[in-house]
């Protein structure tokens, strides 16, 4: 194992400098990240890439303001210089001052959330073998597949976080992802399918969830989309699929509950804790402690232990997701949701893994109950407007439901809705809750972090589908 690039003694001097001109709080976030990526195309390994990043950022907090500076040069001289630049915020905003508490000795995370013993990236030959297996399985499973693009990413992130309240913590987080994209073609018509999985684990994960399974699933979706008919336009009763359908919770509710928006009063959920925001069959959690999930961590990127937060309980808004800065300004405690993309970024309150527990309705009963509607089985992604609550998501696999029976597949279309409106129209919750395959990444303010989602099948009485066919 390589040496710790940040020592308690060094970090102490940086924090002392950071708070010399004022400021209530300071921290140092030091990160070493090694990523190996490999891609296959046309049946061959197309390229391999190695990325190695090491750097540190110093933050000084005064009230609602934060000063920041990072450096890739970890000499003490440069780090002290960065601390001086971060401290500029305190010279602008003279509001209180604090002294850095003496740092504890480095506390290394030891919980059982994920395996921290792996210090090296996976062997290139192992990664190449996974891609080759995915590629040949995809082509073998469906004759109309004309292209298979697979990629695998293996990462080890090590982080050291020293805070002016004396905490000094270390963690090593693994991450692995294998994704397969298939394109099916008949004449000019094309259909795409994508399937990926992984998590905070190692390539050993793909012994139980095999590259063949992921490839066949991607090929199946591509074929479904090739045969799909144009989606209709208009409002429909909609079933949202279990697992990946959880993107709905992430967009329609989760973002609107992030502490920064609510502290500023710019979310439509601002000031509404205790109020009804969804029908009473809706309960939503965010949890950073689910084993090997992408959004899980022993502690967040501010060194705060990740929590289990009840966001909505039987339709009633219970709480927000907080980082340290916004929690303090709202007189609350951080929920361990302070996350950042890298040492080049300031933390923001972000979701970890957002999910809904099961209800009691079987899927076939839910389908049978729809007269004229849509089954949005999985999504390719989504987006939300925090202030108004309007959200969209893009269907990756969807079907018509007519007179209680599953009908033809519909081509990829956008579903649009409004968060609280959609959540009060949830009329049934399936008994089939599960976490989605682990491959979701969330973007906010230009920063991308891995997240998890999960959900049972939900029935929503009316949503707008952005198809091209007028019925």
């Amino acid at each position: 194992m390589a040496n710790d690039p940040l020592t308690a003694r060094g970090a102490q001097r940086i924090l002392d400098r950071a708070l010399r001109d004022g400021g209530l709080y300071a921290d140092v976030f030091c990160e070493r990240r090694s990523t190996v990526q490999m891609r296959s195309q046309e049946g061959a390994i197309h390229e391999a890439g190695l990325s190695q990043n090491l750097g540190a950022g110093v933050r000084v907090v005064v009230g609602e303001s934060a000063g920041y500076a990072y450096t890739e040069d970890l000499t003490e001289e440069r780090l002290i210089e960065a601390a001086g630049r971060a401290a500029a915020i305190a010279r602008l905003t003279a509001e209180g001052s604090a002294r850095a508490t003496r740092l504890e000795s480095l506390e290394r995370a030891r919980d059982a959330l994920y395996d921290r013993t792996r210090t090296e990236n996976a062997a290139p030959a192992h990664l190449a073998a996974l891609l080759e297996r995915a590629e040949s399985a995809a082509r073998a499973s469906e004759s109309r597949i004309v292209a298979v693009n697979a990629h695998v990413v293996d990462e080890v992130q090590e982080l050291w976080i020293a805070r002016s309240d004396g905490s000094f913590r270390f963690d090593r987080r693994p991450m692995v992802t294998l994704g397969v994209q298939c394109i099916a073609r008949a004449g000019r018509e094309r259909g795409t399918g994508y399937c990926a999985d992984g998590g905070r684990t190692s390539v050993g994960f793909f012994e139980s969830t095999t590259p063949e399974q992921l490839a066949r699933e991607a090929a199946r979706i591509a074929a479904v989309n090739l045969d799909a008919r144009p989606a209709p336009a208009g409002e429909f009763e909609t079933l949202i699929g279990a697992g990946g359908g959880g993107v709905l919770l992430h967009e329609a509710v989760g973002h609107g509950l992030e502490g920064d928006f609510n502290r500023r009063g710019v979310s439509l959920y601002s000031g509404r804790v205790g109020e009804r925001v969804a029908s009473d069959c809706v309960t939503i959690y965010d949890d950073g402690n689910l084993p090997e999930e992408r959004g899980s961590a022993a502690f967040d990127d501010e060194g705060t232990t990740c929590g289990h937060t009840i966001l909505v309980e039987r339709g009633i808004l219970r709480g927000y997701l907080h980082d340290e800065l916004n929690a303090r300004l709202m007189g609350m405690r951080s929920t361990g949701n302070g996350r950042r993309q890298s040492f080049r970024h300031l933390p923001q309150p972000r979701m970890c893994n957002t999910y809904m527990p099961p209800g009691d309705v079987p899927l076939d009963e839910m389908i049978a109950s729809v007269r004229d509607g849509i089954f949005a089985k999985s999504f390719a992604g989504g987006q939300v407007d925090i202030g108004k609550g309007d959200f969209v998501f893009m269907i990756a696999e969807g079907y018509r439901i007519e007179r209680g029976r599953l009908g033809a597949a519909v081509k990829n279309a956008t579903i649009v809705g409004n968060g609280p409106d959609a959540m009060t129209k949830v009329t049934a919750v399936g008994n089939d809750a599960r976490l989605a395959r682990r491959h979701y990444t969330c973007g906010k303010g230009g920063q991308y972090v891995p997240v998890g989602v999960g959900m049972p099948t939900l029935k929503i009485s009316a949503m707008s589908l952005g198809g091209t066919e007028r019925e």
Partner: protein, 447 residues
């Protein structure tokens, strides 16, 4: 580190790679001095000033390619990284098209990319700008009662490139950007919009007041908006939204997508796809534009490429690898290990956007879209949208919570008017334009 030192370091990295066994190598160094500030109300809420650096290398080993990227760049660190990357390269398939561009001298063109005024700016001037945006949004309209924060950003960037075929070059560029995100309360809802401007030159950047006014206009426009009925109607794409649509079109013109069949334009060169008004170019040589540079990220001189000429597809956009693979020449679009736009833009028309709206009997002016996953393989466009109804050439009520959708070929063939408001404020730019008919999905239609 100076520009000269960056070139030396890039050249040194190439030497190390060759000594370690690479048959060819390329090194690219980016140095960036960045300043970011955010204001909210009377306070500066974010201040981030950092000098960043990165080294990206491409290594070739007898037709196999591997990349190496990171923050490490002492001789010893490069040697260790190269050795791991070469080990990976051994797992890569031999590809006859992989390799460096054919040797050529890197042009020393004057493209007007660097503004000394940005380099010399002091923090007080920068903070004044962002404070002024924040003050102006509140002064612009009484309905603005909150803010998500106004931002100022600038950067001085040095890029240096060297490869084992003798290429050695560098250039410097600046950019500055101002943006605002005002909030208007309307019952339980908060209306927000984000608007910003960016330029290589401080003097050409919109003033704080202009940025604030435009952001406020886009925010309050939707107060009282309703959900429109499902219908088929003309769509006028506001220039900000038009640029977003062009970004999707760029993906379909990207040779990397074309090569693997992930583009609805694959195999259609020479075909007429859009209306006569569809004239699209990619140009890396526009003086002073944000997307301009003397050479691309693998050292190929940039150029002007006509992608659509009067509706006919003329060319895809290539880097060296995909050009060789598809039997074409690089168009100078190598970007960060893939293919990216220089300035990819739709040629402007003659009328103002106001005249275009006035000439529309019935339709929707779309000012915002939400969502992003266009299927590049099938070419289906579907987005959540917000806009304003047009009746008899007049802007009427504002509408939201609807989608607009159409297959891309129908959108391009349906372009029947293009306005003159093109502005090179990003690497993808478009003037406002109108599509004769698209499907709008909203509430149950009455008709």
């Amino acid at each position: 580190m100076s520009e000269e030192e960056a070139r030396d370091r890039a050249r040194r990295a190439v030497e190390i790679a060759l000594a370690a066994g690479a048959s060819d190598a390329e090194a690219r160094i980016v140095l960036a001095r960045r300043f970011n500030a955010q204001a909210r109300g009377e306070r500066i809420t974010k201040l981030d000033a950092s000098d960043g650096r990165s080294l990206s290398m491409r290594l070739f080993l007898d037709g196999r390619k591997a990349t190496l990227a990171g923050t490490h760049w002492s001789d010893e660190e490069i040697r260790a990284g190269v050795s791991s990357a070469l080990e990976q390269a051994r797992c890569v398939g031999v590809d006859p098209y992989a390799g460096l561009p054919d040797p050529c001298s890197l042009p020393d063109r004057r493209l007007d990319l660097y503004d000394k005024a940005i380099e010399k700016r002091n923090d007080d001037e920068r903070l004044d700008d962002v404070r002024n945006v924040e003050r102006s949004i509140r002064a612009a309209d009484a309905r603005i009662d909150n803010s998500n924060g106004s931002s100022y950003h600038d950067a001085c960037v040095t890029m240096a490139l060297a490869n084992s075929r003798g290429a050695l070059g560098s250039y410097r560029g600046t950019q500055a950007a101002l943006s605002a995100s005002p909030v208007a309360s309307e019952g339980a809802y908060r209306r927000t919009a984000h608007y910003g401007d960016a330029s290589r030159f401080l003097a050409r950047l919109d003033t704080p007041n202009a940025v604030a006014r435009e952001a406020v206009r886009r925010t309050v426009a939707f107060c009282g908006a309703s959900k429109p009925p499902t219908q088929t109607t003309a769509i006028v794409f506001d220039r900000e939204v038009a640029a977003g649509l062009l970004a999707d079109l760029f993906a379909a013109c990207n040779a990397a997508n074309v090569a693997v069949g992930n583009s609805w334009l694959a195999g259609r060169i020479g075909e007429r796809i859009g209306s006569d008004l569809l004239e699209i170019h990619d140009d890396g040589t526009i003086p002073g534009a944000l997307g301009s540079s003397p050479f691309d990220d693998e050292g190929v001189p940039t150029q002007r490429t006509t992608v659509f000429e009067r509706g006919t597809l003329r060319s895809f956009l290539f880097d060296t690898y995909y050009a060789r693979r598809l039997g074409a020449r690089s168009t100078g679009n190598a970007s960060g290990g893939g293919i990216g736009p220089n300035t990819f833009f739709l040629a402007p028309g003659k009328q103002t956007p106001e005249a275009l709206v006035a000439a529309t009997a019935r339709g929707i002016l779309v000012m915002e879209t939400i969502g992003f996953a266009t299927e590049h393989a099938s070419g289906l466009y579907s987005r959540g949208a917000r806009g304003i109804m047009i009746r008899d050439g007049e802007l009427a009520e504002s509408i939201e919570e609807f989608t607009i959708a159409a297959p891309f070929p129908e959108i391009l063939a349906g372009i029947d008017a293009v306005a003159n408001d093109l502005k090179f404020d990003g690497s993808i730019a478009a003037p406002s334009f109108r599509v004769a008919e698209m499907q709008v999905s909203g509430s149950q239609s009455a008709s």
